[in-house]
Amino acid sequence: MLSVSLRKRRDGFALQVAFEAPTPGVVALFGRSGCGKSTTIDLIAGLLDPDEGHVRLDDATLVDTRERASVPAERRRIGYVFQDSKLFPHFSVAGNLRYGLKRVREGGERIGFDEVVALLGLAPFLARRPHQLSGGERQRVALGRALLSQPRLLLLDEPLASIDAARREEVLPYLEVLRDRLSIPMVYVSHQFDEVLRLATHVVLLDAGHVVAQGSPGDVSLRPELRAIVGPEAVGAVLDGTIIAVDPASRLAELRLGRGTLRIHAPDAAAGASVRVQLPARDVILATERPQALSVRNAIEGIIDDVIEDEDDARLVRVDIGGAFVLSRVTIAAVEALRLKRGDAVWVLIKAVSMRGHTFKGPARTSTR
């Protein structure tokens, strides 16, 4: 369990955050720039001191102002991957990787140099200098360097922000590997909701220095507070499910979801895999009768759970599809014409092409959880 409760005043900005998340797992601190995400992880790392509060990781107290206890950053054993990698320019890649490793206390080594090099595909770069690497390669080295310091928690401050969108795939899959195979607890700071969706097991939504919502990505995706941060276009329910079959002809995967099944594009998935999908609310259509002869591949029966204010001319309709919820963004005119209200039965229509599924295994659970 990672337990954080912190207050910090700094340059006229007041931060007050509190959250608890299970370990191992990936906590995503999500919010707009300047909402206090980076300050929060600097406080967790010990690079800043809180005015008040505590950070506890499993049985260890890292800082607690009430007990006047604070472990200095260099002894917290917390790995930190900075936004602009902060590789040491006067060391080679290998020298950077070994910097933390050399300073590990006797007996603390759990992951070795060769293992990290293999895991992150760093072998071709070992002799190079940091300035000879691309942005994505630099971040992988930074990740390896942090891992080799044998951290009990890994902090990542927008590690993909300085990499252009096309090259993010050079890094993202490695982060998934860390989460699933090494089971290292992580705190991931981002203002990109798609990154959060791929990685997070727990989402903390921050706005102006305060936590406005937190929970599983599925829960948080249904929260109205999210809309203000990601914008109305990006709102959509996030669902975790299991693939029951993949149709070889259409390459569509069939996903069990609530009462129905959903056919989605999940290029890397096989039957039995866990996947996470986001259904953009703008691409979810509601019908009051069972639709016939449509090109839409997915139609699931559900019951309206709530009709939520959205923008002036739109409403967000939350539909219970049996243990799971989807969001649909419809015009007020449509709400009135179809007389949509809580408790009504509706058909939810989702285009298979509007969804992108990602396999999401999640961290291997340890028995202590």
Partner: protein, 231 residues
């Protein structure tokens, strides 16, 4: 006129190089420490301290030499302390010439090192910290190597300037051949003597070559280190 150096001139040249080297080597650690104090710490009287460090730059060198004479002379409080406890005598010695030179070139060195230290990305130090490096470890493995170009450039510039130090040296340790008569002092002596024209010219050319060489070397070293750091 012959351009071959006389034995007397060779002595002055070697003395200059030795005194400049001693002054730079002794003042370098202090200059790094003072640059660090002025860049990284906040304390009461910091501005005053900063001004004090830069004082030799604006004081008449003769005044600086006189203050040194009062403090480090045979009867001066610090001079007596050094003589009794460390056996070091400054008055009318090479050591005194090196001290006067060090004091005069100190502001120059601090300035260059300070700029180098300000250029070090503190995020790199933070990164080293999260990787388990304590304060001294961080300074030795990250901060110091990254400011090396500035330290080197500062040292070479100070060395070049030290070769030319005149006023403070002649006031504090006088003009003793073979002991404190450095290149500029020998040059001054030559100009004062009736038949010293040729000698004065040779020494002036020497000073010119050394000064230019020193500045070029400083630039070359700085570039090499920058290249090595990939900037």
């Amino acid at each position: 006129m012959s351009f071959t150096l006389t034995p007397e001139e060779v002595v002055a040249l070697r003395l200059s190089l030795e005194i400049a080297a001693r002054s730079v080597l002794w003042s370098l650690p202090f200059a790094i420490f003072v640059a660090w104090l002025l860049t990284r710490t906040r304390f009461v009287g910091r501005t005053l301290f900063d001004a004090f460090v830069h004082l030799p730059l604006v004081l008449p060198p003769v005044a600086t030499g006189y203050v040194l004479l009062l403090l480090f002379g045979n009867r001066g409080p610090l001079g007596r302390l050094f003589h009794e406890h460390l056996g070091i005598e400054f008055a009318f010695t090479k050591a005194g010439a090196a001290l006067a030179t060090a004091v005069m070139t100190f502001p120059l060195m601090v300035r260059t090192i300070r700029i180098a230290l300000e250029g070090v990305d503190r995020g790199l130090e933070a990164a080293a910290r999260t990787l388990g490096a304590g304060p001294f470890d961080r300074f030795a493995t990250i901060t110091l190597p990254l400011m090396a170009p500035g330290i080197l450039a500062g040292a070479v510039t100070a060395f070049s300037a030290a070769l030319g130090e005149f006023g403070a040296v002649i006031t504090f340790v006088s003009n003793i051949p073979g002991e404190t008569r450095t290149l500029p002092l020998a040059l001054y002596t030559a100009i004062q003597s009736p038949n010293g024209d040729a000698m004065a010219l040779r020494l002036a050319i020497m000073a010119f070559v050394l000064g230019l060489g020193g500045l070029l070397l400083a630039e070359f070293l700085a570039r090499r280190v920058r290249w090595r750091l990939g900037r």
